[in-house]
């Protein structure tokens, strides 16, 4: 069995009474946030700032307890073998120097390491993990026989054709070049303009899908808050939900 979240002197927070207080606080804060429907007000502001403050505080606590402290302890116990932890802590301290104007150049070294390694990993990963596989996936056969024939084969083939046309059209929309001259130039420009306008519509459809997805997410969150109020909070008051 997983031990209760708070231990030692904080074990009081795991008692049923404390749980009820927690539900009350959560319910009141939920109502405070929903009060924004009536306009900007103090309760909403307090709830908003509490969320930001507590999230930041919790993140710091977890980073210290889970990441920094165990490594600091390990370095303290065995500095010869774990010397690199000491180096990392030193770099971390140097990063803090960014906050002091006179010492801020010290922070350039860890910052350069952070940005350099981050960009290196991200670029390599994006190339191998996104660009190549996605391009490879776009290059697909369009014959129904390749997908087994029949109705499903045709459906898959049409799907692939639409994917290819949509990709070409969306990429054509982002073509910026100077006005072409000559017959060939005008022809290619007209081709790009045609596909670009089609690509714009493809992009609009993609944005529409994203908006619909966002609507689903925010409605689900709203619904979960209402269910919390009905099932968890009102049950404390003796009112049973449906």
């Amino acid at each position: 069995m997983m031990p209760a979240l708070p231990a030692g002197p904080f074990a009081i927070f795991a008692t049923p009474g404390a749980q009820a207080v927690g539900i009350w606080v959560a319910a009141l804060l939920t109502l405070a946030v929903l009060s924004y429907l009536l306009g900007d007000n103090l309760l909403f502001r307090v709830a908003e700032y509490l969320l930001v403050g507590i999230a930041a505080g919790y993140a710091v606590a977890v980073a210290w307890r889970n990441v920094l402290w165990p490594r600091l302890l390990a370095f303290w116990q065995d500095p010869m073998n774990l010397w690199y932890y000491g180096l990392f802590f030193l770099l971390g301290l140097m990063l803090l120097a960014r906050g002091v104007r006179r010492l801020s150049p010290l922070g350039n070294v860890p910052l350069a390491i952070l940005v350099g390694t981050g960009a290196g990993f991200a670029l390599g990963g994006a190339f191998l993990g996104t660009l190549l596989p996605q391009v490879r996936d776009t290059i697909a056969p369009v014959t129904p026989q390749h997908y087994g024939g029949g109705l499903s084969g045709w459906a898959r083939a049409i799907d692939v054709i639409l994917l290819i046309l949509g990709t070409v059209a969306a990429l054509s929309f982002f073509t910026y070049c100077r006005e072409a001259s000559g017959k060939g130039g005008r022809l290619s420009q007209g081709f790009l303009q045609f596909w670009g306008s089609a690509g714009r519509k493809v992009i609009m459809v993609a944005f529409g899908a994203l908006l619909a997805g966002a609507a689903v997410t925010f409605f689900t969150l709203f619904q979960s808050r209402l269910f919390f109020l009905i099932y968890d909070w009102l049950s404390l008051l003796g009112i049973k939900g449906p």
Binding site: G129, T130, D137, G213
Partner: protein, 437 residues
């Protein structure tokens, strides 16, 4: 309410231009907090920085200014229009000053704003033509502006008559109506029990894939969502864990953001209450927060025990936990199960881990990011993409759970309302356009 300095028309908060005469209301866009000096948007009642009540402070400020000027609620001179019943508060603090009469006077007024001596240098510069002085019309407008700001009155100049606009009223009332409809959409399915029976059609094979695993297998579970999205993601995470616990499949959890550790504990606690045999340390473990994004993932690829020296709950060395036996390397896991409210963490796992290890990746994501990850599923990089209320029902241990099914059906009602509102507002807009033409 913003009173137009040019025509006195009452505009809704946040408008950049007057609805009646089109004059700029830019000077009214911000409210300056009298307590801390912070700039707040015009529609804010409380200061962003110090929570001072801006309306109250402005009221007091204006009253104080009027007391000093010795002309509290002075009636307007005869012939300039009837006095208004109550003076509205201008949303900004303005300090009226007499208009400059000459070019030199204008420059001297800017002396505080320009660098030292710049005003004099500009005035004495050869070949610099002085700008035209304000015209009589501009001076009259500015005088009216200052009087409105000083006296806090409006409506001295009758607003330009305009045909009444139907849309704003509809939109204002529509906001409240839409909120009520949302509540109906969310809650009505709870009372429709017969409608909620049965399972929806399967949307993915993720459940079958997980159910095919056995107690000897292990899955890496990644918690990559924030508490703000726990309403959508937590039930999905619990559903995944429930499937693993039912088959006693080992699961090792990591969090890609600090709050994920607490969310992982809550999710496992809920599963443990239903299935007590699924014990911490024996069948599952929470390793903790993995910082560093791509760099952190690369560290994890070097070895699980090297990255996490101890677990996040018992603070025991990971090598001593039975749940982690034989799982020193990522490749020892049968698959990765990531629950995320953003597309970036999933993409990082695809790019950094899946691309190098080929491990199957199951992603349970928020509906809002699902379209962004669909290409990865299509390319086979994400084996299963579970999303939305339907995905939750598919994964849930009790298919006909009333609350879960209510979620999906609430969504149907929600979209029906969306469609109805879209149709009605477009028809009204079209009628309005026709009338104008």
């Amino acid at each position: 309410m913003i009173v137009c300095p040019a025509c006195g028309h009452h505009n809704a908060e946040g408008r950049a231009r007057c609805e009646a005469c089109g004059a700029s209301l830019e000077h009214f866009v911000y409210r300056v907090c009298p307590a801390c000096g912070a700039l707040n948007a015009a529609d804010r009642t409380f200061c962003l920085r110090c929570l001072t009540n801006l309306l109250q402070a402005e009221k007091e400020d204006i009253a104080q200014g009027q007391a000093i000027a010795g002309e509290p609620s002075a009636p307007p001179p005869a012939g300039e229009g009837a006095p208004l019943p109550e003076a509205p508060q201008p949303p900004t603090r303005l300090t009226p000053s007499p208009l400059p009469a000459t070019w030199e006077e204008t420059l001297s007024a800017l002396a505080d704003l320009l660098p030292a001596g710049a005003a004099k240098a500009l005035a004495g510069r050869k070949g610099m033509a002085p700008p035209a002085l304000p015209s009589e019309e501009e001076r009259a407008e500015a005088a009216l502006f200052q009087r409105v700001a000083r006296e806090g009155t409006a409506g001295r100049v009758p607003p330009i008559s305009q045909p009444p606009l139907a849309m704003p009223d509809i939109l204002v009332r529509g906001r409240v109506l839409f909120a009520l409809l949302l509540i109906v959409a969310a809650l009505v399915p709870l009372w429709l029990a017969p409608w909620g029976e049965g399972r929806l059609a399967p949307i993915s094979g993720a459940r079958e894939w997980l159910e095919a695993l056995g107690p000897q297998d292990a899955v890496l579970v990644v918690f990559a969502y924030s508490p703000a999205y726990a309403g959508e993601m937590q039930p999905l995470a619990e559903a995944f864990l429930h499937i693993l616990a039912e088959r006693s499949i080992r699961s090792i959890a990591v969090a890609s953001q600090p709050a994920g550790v607490g969310l992982a504990r809550e999710a496992y606690r809920a599963v443990e209450e239903a299935l007590p045999a699924y014990a911490y340390g024996e069948r599952y473990a929470i390793l903790g927060y993995l910082p560093g994004q791509e760099a952190g993932l690369n560290a994890l690829l070097q070895g699980v025990e090297q990255t996490f020296g101890q677990d996040a709950v018992l603070q025991r060395p990971t090598a001593e936990l039975p749940a982690l036996q034989g799982l020193g390397q990522i490749a020892a896991f049968r698959g990765i199960l990531i629950v995320s409210d953003e597309d970036a963490p999933v993409r990082q796992w695809v790019e950094q881990v899946h691309a190098r290890t080929g491990l199957p990746l199951i992603a349970g994501v928020a509906a809002r990011v699902a379209p962004l990850l669909a290409p990865y599923q299509r390319a086979g990089q994400i084996r299963y993409l579970v999303t939305g209320p339907n995905g939750l029902i598919e994964m849930a241990p009790h298919g006909a759970d009333r609350r879960l099914v209510a979620r999906a059906h609430g969504l149907v009602i929600y979209f029906a309302i969306w469609c109805a509102v879209a149709v009605v507002t477009n028809v009204l807009y079209w009628r309005e356009r026709r009338r104008e033409e």
